[in-house]
Symmetry: C2
Subunit: 400 residues, 2 copies
């Protein structure tokens, strides 16, 4: 039998996924995630100024005091389509009617090709069929139904004690193409049976997201459709966390961040054509913002990423990418190491045999780049993957 | 017999190129470009905060009232190397001694791998050998000697009448990898026998460069080593242009820009692994800066570039890249066409058969993307290439 996992790990949540005919392949393309009782919700959305209709709809839903469900289709992003907003609303309404709640209590997300008319009737028919089958074991089906070029579904959960109550946070996400550094960079849905105020939901969403999904990049492109939705339904019976401070909040934030970080890393591991999982640490910066800017510049450089694919310790490209990040970098104060092997320090190579030491490290699946700027105490960490032949292939042939 | 071309098209200039042993392949790797009389010079340099020693040296040379030569090696960029500055100086000194002038009259440029010790003795020996062979037919050899992963040497010239004198502007450039949008993005050397003041040389360099080399991108990376040097030696006998205004200056600027634009486009055509030459026009912007920012965002998007390689009219990615450029883009005011075929207008596709019309255009070598933002009157144009399997291959294997 199935088990509670991902978005249905927390009590009071049910979900499901099915194929309703949006994807020509017949793969799952419709997911519903719902709470059996009113939940407090918040979201984070793409900063792209060209936004999909579902992003516009779901942002508006933040104004509602309560939320009950999220409906998602893959295979078509409903971006820049005729009647896109009305179609997003119809998706919400189809779920809301089943639940007997207002349509503004249902978030909508879509992912896939841009600019193709959304086959909304197929989705409506699918919703009618899927709704009665939603269950507490349906998390994994939902995680599968939101995939596009992803190779694996991504879900996880964490359970812990908080103020005497047993609380669970779970989630699922999809990523793969178009993973850029500006929130949101994918679809992610987080559910928890913790009890929180709206103020706490807002803070929790922003902070967990910044430390996870906003710290990854696959190709630097920021999609028109990305969003993260967090729903908290209080089904655990644990006491309400009213303010974003204190021990109980800290624990909830820590665990929610862990869930988000796991999902974000899974997105990178499953990056289009990725053969490496790369952690970029920047330390010794004047501010966290500067550290992240340098780290992202390194993580996004096509020359760094192709060198990583080639298992080549081309450290000059790393310093070069740091240099054009917009942050002033002094190579005579900087220190660079790759997977623990010191390479470069304050203007010069640390040794003559650095390459022999670094070579075996670059053959490993996980590579860690650490750049100490030597000018301050702030740091940042981002995750990325390499750039392979397959990245080009997947994206050249995406629509065919 | 040879002919005057490129940097030796203008009177009073001689040049040459040879192999001095920096490149393991035995290909040409040393070039000298010199004026037989004192010239007025200016330069534009990389904005990367990690700068090669030759960039530091050559920027300092701008303070000299006169310039006589440029010495260039390929195969090693002399960036982040021990004694790099002293080595750059030794290159300048070796040429200056032959000319009997101060070392500050000799610009130095290096291109190639970062962080490897520069074999400066080989270069000094090469300079001694090459100097006596410099000639007015040596432009093409110099253009060859500055190449790295370039497939073809790039040179051109223009001759025209200016205030009664016959004036020539010529130049050579190298590019290929690491072509990013921030000046300078390659090596380019422009020579003219026009007579200009230093003020004019400055303005001419900046304006011609912005309209050409600063309007191209191959992979968005900005090198540590890039520079453009312009030398004007008055050998034409044409009257001196003292101020950056008036008819004669306009003509000189126009022709110099033409030379630079030709070279910049050649760099894009020869971009690593490029199969397409792509012009991105952004019109209807609120400012030229905004237009260029949007155009560069489109031109740099890996998703747009891989779609172009795949000959796929994935117009959604173009609007998506415009959307995350940092400039506010309203898709309901924007119009997009590809190679003259209208695709999208004010929020919707223009027709049902847009794809059939666009498909043959995308099979062509030259593709033109035109995005009208519909909110102003400013425009910008940038040139780029696609992202192919070969781009990844060249850069994964670069150092092997």
């Amino acid at each position: 039998m199935g088990k509670r996992s991902g978005v249905t790990a927390a009590r009071g949540f049910a979900a499901g996924g099915m194929s309703c005919g949006v994807k020509k392949t017949g793969a799952k393309d419709l997911a519903i995630i719902m709470s059996d009782r009113p939940a407090v919700a918040w979201g984070a959305f793409t900063k792209n100024s060209v936004k999909g209709a579902p992003v516009i709809w779901s942002r508006e839903c933040l104004r509602s005091a309560q939320a009950r469900a999220i409906v998602v289709n893959s295979g078509n992003s409903n971006v820049l389509t005729k009647d896109g907003y009305e179609h997003a609303r119809r998706m919400a309404r189809a779920v809301a009617e089943k639940l007997g709640v207002g349509e503004r209590q249902v978030f909508v997300a879509s992912t896939g090709v841009i600019g193709q008319p959304l086959p909304v009737e197929k989705i409506e028919t699918g919703i009618a069929e899927l709704f009665p089958r939603l269950s507490s074991q349906g998390g994994v089906d939902a995680a599968e139904a939101i995939m596009t070029t992803d190779l694996t579904p991504k879900e996880t959960s964490a359970t812990f004690d908080i103020g005497g109550g047993r609380v669970t946070v779970g989630g699922c996400a999809k990523g793969s193409g178009m993973i850029g550094p500006s929130m949101a960079t994918m679809l992610a849905f987080i559910t928890t049976d913790a009890a929180v105020s709206k103020t706490v939901a807002k803070d929790l969403t922003k902070r967990a997201c910044d430390a996870s999904f906003n710290s990854i990049t696959v190709d630097g492109d920021t999609s028109t459709s990305d969003m993260l939705i967090l729903m908290a339904n209080a089904a655990s019976g644990a006491p309400v966390i009213e303010k974003p401070s204190g021990k109980r909040y800290s624990l909830l934030l820590e665990k929610t961040t862990e869930v988000c970080e796991y999902l974000a890393k899974e997105i990178v591991r499953d990056g289009e054509g990725a053969t490496k999982f790369v952690t970029v640490n920047v330390t010794g910066a004047v501010s966290e913002k500067a550290a992240k800017q340098v780290a992202m510049s390194i993580a996004k450089s096509p020359l760094v990423k192709t060198a990583l694919f080639g298992q080549d310790a081309n450290w000059g490209r790393i310093l070069c990418a740091a240099g054009y990040s917009g942050v002033a970098v002094d190579a005579y104060k900087a220190k660079l190491s790759i997977s623990g092997v010191p390479i470069f320090s304050c203007g010069a190579l640390v040794s003559d045999d650095w390459e022999a030491s670094a070579a075996p490290k670059l053959k490993e699946k996980n590579v860690e780049i650490t750049l100490d700027l030597g000018v301050g105490k702030a740091s940042a960490r981002v995750w990325t993957c390499d750039f392979s032949y397959d990245y080009v292939k997947i994206n050249a042939d995406y629509r065919t």
